[in-house]
């Protein structure tokens, strides 16, 4: 048994990864993941606090010290099962959660040194279980005879499905696209989220008894109301995502060669355009690509463009410190040779006589007073316009909620941004028996926030299905005591 002091002496273990000069030529996953030795070494850094703060930082309340203790003991499969008690999709969260601002930021070893690499350990345990034999099935509660419809097979919907099937309900997930996974499938690239991992997580839910219906557009094939009134569903969860790309509203945005990040990434990821012509969808393979935006989606687009053989520049109107992308993603992008033009804003896109993009005019920005988000507002520098030669522009400035379900359910209450209004304690919408979560509620957020909302929704849906009522609101949070 290591002493606390000995544990704190172990440095945070890096995850081996593909070298930048290799990985820019392939779509394989960048980090290889921990080996068993590295995982145990990293796990030994965990002090097993009496009152672990890391759990408070986790939107889905994973027993973090619990699963890490099992890794310390070399019980990797058991560690994966421990994770799955609270999180049906650990292989996904281990890869794309922003742990640095959730669990890891609260880790006490991070006060003086580096926090325990919780995300990497989560990924290790889940990958180990998948690679080593049969994935264990949890015990399912007795069937309740209640049927739940879930709209959208993305992170929120998959979470609700996993929780409710375990609680004994029958679950059908409707997906409009031809493959389940939502943003994990169409948005996040293979090199960051291997599709095989998504497939395995979906297979696991299918084995638990969840029914997946692809090619089914709720709002068109059935409305939410029809699911409830005519098709035998006792409750419905809407997790339809942020499905309508925003554009900048500058001249030239409809030129050939301007893409939403959604389209750019969907072609590459869901349609596997990078394997054209083996797959039929053509990729967007150009020489000089500008990606507009500073979030994870912008980083994903830029790194995809790079792998398709382009010179890539990220154009972002604020400064580096204000980029919403994870540091790790920005770091990977920089390592791979992507250029960053920060504090620059596109003002128009120019094209040739065939309406094809030839260049983009930008203006330099400087930081002014803080805006509503607390970030200093970028303001244009007069007379600093300049032209960048580009043949492709990818607009990655966010999404608006997809209107298909609200349009076909006029009674559903919406915010003025078009997102669905929910009670945050239950995730119930304005309509009884109808719950919602993920980006259709929060706008454009993260996979784990969608999953966290899915978990809350699943709990209240379970209560509703059993009692006909939502759970009582929780008591006001107590002040709490600091962890050891």
């Amino acid at each position: 048994m290591l002493s606390k002091k000995e544990r704190m002496k172990i440095p945070r273990q890096a995850m081996p990864e593909q070298a930048p000069e290799d990985r820019i030529h392939n779509f394989n996953e960048v980090p290889y993941g921990y080996t068993a030795e590295l995982a145990r070494l990293e796990a030994d850094r965990c002090l097993q606090c009496n009152k672990p703060k890391c759990i408070d930082g986790c939107p889905v309340n994973i027993d973090i010290p619990g699963f890490i203790a099992l890794i310390q003991e070399g019980k990797f499969i058991e560690a994966a099962q421990k994770l799955k008690e609270e999180n049906a999709l650990p292989a996904i969260c281990g890869r794309v959660c922003p742990q640095e601002e959730q669990c890891e930021v609260k880790c006490v070893t991070g006060v003086k040194g580096d926090p325990v690499a919780i995300g990497r350990l989560e990924r290790f345990a889940a990958d180990y279980e998948r690679a080593n034999g049969e994935v264990a099935m949890p015990e399912l509660q007795p069937k309740t005879g209640k049927l739940v419809g879930i709209i959208g097979a993305g992170p929120a919907g998959l979470t609700v499905a996993g929780d409710l099937i375990k609680l004994g309900h029958d679950v059908t997930v409707f997906e409009a696209l031809h493959a389940p996974g939502g943003v994990l499938m169409y948005g996040i690239p293979e090199f960051r989220m291997p599709k095989e991992v998504v497939r395995a997580e979906v297979d696991y839910l299918e084995k638990l008894g969840v029914t997946f219906v692809m090619d089914y557009v709720v709002g068109r094939n059935s409305t939410v109301r029809e699911l409830l009134d005519n098709e035998g569903f006792h409750a419905v969860f809407i997790g339809s995502g942020a499905g309508l790309p925003s554009f900048m509203g500058v001249p030239g945005e409809n030129l050939v060669g301007v893409y939403s990040a959604n389209e750019y990434l969907t072609r590459a990821n869901l349609m596997k355009a990078y394997r054209f012509p083996e797959y039929d969808t053509p990729p967007i393979r150009r020489e000089r690509v500008a990606v507009i935006g500073g979030g994870n989606v912008a980083m994903d687009s830029a790194r995809t463009a790079l792998r398709l053989g382009g010179d890539v520049t990220v154009v972002y109107r604020r400064a580096r410190e204000q980029m919403p992308a994870r540091d790790e993603e920005i770091h990977h992008a920089e390592e791979e040779g992507i250029e960053f033009k920060l504090l620059n804003n596109p003002i128009r896109i120019l094209g040739d006589e065939n309406h094809r993009v030839t260049s983009m005019e930008c203006i330099r920005m400087e930081l002014g007073e803080p805006d509503d988000s607390g970030r200093r507002r970028p303001v244009p520098v007069k007379g600093s316009e300049f032209i960048m030669e580009v043949d492709t522009v990818v607009v990655a400035i966010g999404n608006k909620p997809n209107p298909l379900i609200p349009q076909t359910m006029p009674e559903l209450k919406l915010t003025r941004w078009g997102t669905i209004v929910v009670d945050e304690h239950t995730m119930q919408t304005s309509e009884e028996g109808v719950y919602a979560g993920g980006d259709i509620v929060s706008g454009a957020a993260t996979v784990i926030l969608a999953m966290g909302q899915g978990k809350i929704a699943a709990q209240s849906m379970d209560h509703y299905l059993r009692t006909g009522k939502n759970p009582e609101p929780p008591p006001p949070p107590d002040s709490g005591t600091p962890a050891a």
Binding site: A176, L177, H178, Y186, M214, D215, Y216, V217, R220, N221, S222, G241, G243, L244, P245, F247, E253, N254, V256, G257, Y259, S260, N262, E263, T266, R267, M271, K272, F276, P277, E278, Y279, D280, T281, P282, N354, H355, R356, N402, P403, L404
Partner: protein
């Protein structure tokens, strides 16, 4: 998986494909479209619905053999399974009482106006169906259209059948002769839709065109199908497919439609059937 119930070449390179898709047939309305993928590696390509039967669950499409994706579909036989069919997508055409409705169509649009004509007539409109083709042998659905319209006019560009010229020539002449048209709906290639709009505009006849730009998901998610209408950005998949012909930016539409022509040529050279060909099936296209 969606079974092909029936397939027939109704004119050279024009195929009627009937697919078993009950969830679509139950909800389809005139003017909507489907997205098909012949197999898992296919592109997602939109096709306008021609007809459907909610009782049997069958939906009918007219597929023009135009490129790699349509060719893959056409090489399939009754009994084969299409991997993915999704729909009905798009905002249905508003079927109401308008008065006299002229439906102008060419190529796949001839099939697409079948259900529109039927619904318009049921709504007590006087329906004139005007269908154009290069030559007499390229016309199809004559009997079907005659049954659901008050008047069927066929035109051929070479004059081998019906009126010599284009559908737009018929509309132009009728408007010049003082006939009142209350609504014109055009389904066909962009050029035909643009020209028709240009002729109806001075007569202030409301003209709706069914736009068919490149799409990927078809549910509003990707924005590939954006078009400028009255200077505003619209998505053909969720705001359309029908738009005011007089407000569409046609130049932009064309150029966006041609964005992948090089890649399309590359694909066509490599078309392979989804299901290996059997004796008696079409091999001449390979």
């Amino acid at each position: 998986m969606f079974k092909i119930l029936h397939k027939q070449e109704v004119a050279p390179n024009v195929h009627e494909i009937v697919i078993e898709a009950p969830a679509i047939a139950k909800k389809a309305q005139p003017g909507q479209f489907l997205i098909l993928m012949a197999d898992e590696k296919s592109e997602r390509v939109p096709y306008t619905l021609s007809d459907w039967d909610a009782d049997t669950g069958a939906v009918t499409l007219i597929v023009l053999e135009a490129g790699h994706s349509s060719r893959k579909l056409i090489l399939m036989e009754p009994g084969d399974q299409i991997e993915h069919v999704v729909g009905p997508l798009g905002v249905p055409l508003e079927i109401g009482h308008h008065g006299t409705v002229a439906l102008a169509a060419g190529c796949y649009g001839i099939g697409a106006i079948l259900s529109i004509a039927r619904a318009m007539r049921k709504a007590r409109n006087r329906v004139i169906a005007i269908v154009e083709a290069r030559s007499h042998y390229l016309h199809y659905y004559e009997d079907q259209l005659r049954e659901v319209s008050d008047e069927l006019i066929q035109t051929t560009i070479d004059g081998s059948e019906g009126i010599k010229g284009h559908a737009v020539d018929v509309i132009k002449k009728r408007l010049e002769d003082g006939e009142q048209l209350d609504l014109v709906v055009v389904v066909g290639c962009p050029f035909m839709m643009m020209l028709t709009g240009r002729e109806t505009e001075p007569h202030k006849v409301r003209t709706l065109v069914a736009l068919n730009p490149i799409m990927v998901d078809g549910t509003g998610m990707c924005g590939a199908c954006r078009v400028s209408v009255s200077g505003e950005m619209k998505f053909a998949c969720v705001d359309g497919p029908f738009f005011d012909a007089h407000a569409v930016d046609w130049d932009e539409l064309w150029d966006r439609k041609a964005a992948y022509s090089q890649e399309e040529i590359q694909s066509v050279e490599r078309t392979e059937p989804v299901v290996p060909l059997r004796p008696g099936s079409r091999t001449d296209t390979l």
